[in-house]
Amino acid sequence: MTDEFVIVTQALSKSYGHSEAVRALDLSVGRGRITAFLGRNGAGKSTTIKMLLGMIRPTSGSGTVLGNVINDSKESVALRRRVAYVAEDKPLYGYMTVEQIVRFARSFYADWRIDSEKQLLRDCELPLRRKVKSLSKGMRTKLALLLAFARRPDLIILDEPSEGLDPVATEYLLQSLVARASEGSSVFFSSHQISEVERVADHVCILEKGALLMDASLDSLRESYRRIDLVFPALPAEREFRISGVQRIQTSGRQMSVFASNNADEVIERAHGLSVVSVNVTPIGLRDIFLETVKENERALV
């Protein structure tokens, strides 16, 4: 049922000449969730988001946002009415004052909440009569986010929202994000700040070279990814541990370190069967999961 997902793409692709920015992307972002979009610079995250919002036309494939087809201009307008979007670098109209730009944004959306607007303006201490171009960078960022957070849209899309934010502003951003999510907005945001993603995201999608490498819930990643450090009296052959779920094995002397995306239990069982002397299991954080996933993809391509 389309209601289950706020964003669905089918084989969405975008090429510029010979280079493929996005390759046959099958993305599905669930409703009522906070989904993070991870990827290296140039992986295609912004391109994907722009295609979803009608700023770029896909080369092939299709997609829907909130049930609206993305490459139909009428439906694109309809979907944008229910989506709040803050682009990378959080652009604003420099020639407008804070008051003018808020009034301008407000006029387009039925889901605008005046009480939220007033609250946020107070919290951020934004000077109403000052022109945007004479605001400090921090204030401009807060204003750009305010224009999204003063609404109750069905979907919030943020492209690198915490970029350039100091830690206090970042906390405020995450708090506002969580507050909107609690009120029913689905959130889809791309980020390089893995620690923030780990805190607030329910779900993570990893994009690399235009293709989706991973689409998983953070909780399932937390439960299944394990690093198992083993010490043997005599190192067994690596192939003993090449079972499903094992992504990388490193050996040094009598030590073996296994990077497993799941099946850690079986690895340990095998280790015990091979007279392991010491077993040390540690969880793997999202940063390492991301790095390993990307590296494994590169190894696979070679």
């Binding site: 507050a179 937390r222 990814y225 069982e269 015990h272 299991v281």
Partner: protein, 133 residues
């Protein structure tokens, strides 16, 4: 009523499970008493800066277990029933046993780190592995 919950996103355990444990721990140690009200989903999510789905799932699972009572519109309330009370007593007793064991191990010359790793290793041993809740 606010306890000091602290969730660790990199500890390898789903956040909702951590929250559940900390709430249970609160009930066990008496920091949360029968009838105490926990913050609403949105409030707690904003305070901890975690996804509201995490809080919602923790609350819902605890309601399943009987520790929480979710009243429509009012919030989440602790229900320490007698069954849970005996569980609390058992946990308290186990903690005392553990304390004694740890003291023994320390006297035997083991460092805290070594004791910790030993526990971890034994807990993950497949033969003794208990299916995670």
């Amino acid at each position: 009523m606010a306890l000091f919950f602290k969730l660790a996103p990199t500890s390898g355990q789903p956040l909702y499970l951590q929250l559940m444990q900390q709430i249970r721990h609160g009930a066990e140690t008496g920091a949360l008493l029968d009838g105490d009200q926990l913050p609403g989903i949105r409030t707690l999510a904003e305070e901890l800066i975690v996804s509201p789905n995490t809080v919602a799932k923790a609350y819902s699972e605890l309601e399943h277990e009987g520790l929480l009572e979710l009243r429509q519109g009012s919030g989440a309330f602790i229900c320490v029933k007698r069954r849970t009370q005996s569980l609390t007593d058992r946990v308290q007793a186990s903690r005392r046993k553990l304390r004694d064991l740890i003291d023994q191990l320390r006297e035997a010359g083991l460092l805290d780190e070594e004791i910790h790793r030993a526990f971890e290793a034994e807990l993950t041993h497949p033969v003794l592995a208990v299916k995670k809740r």
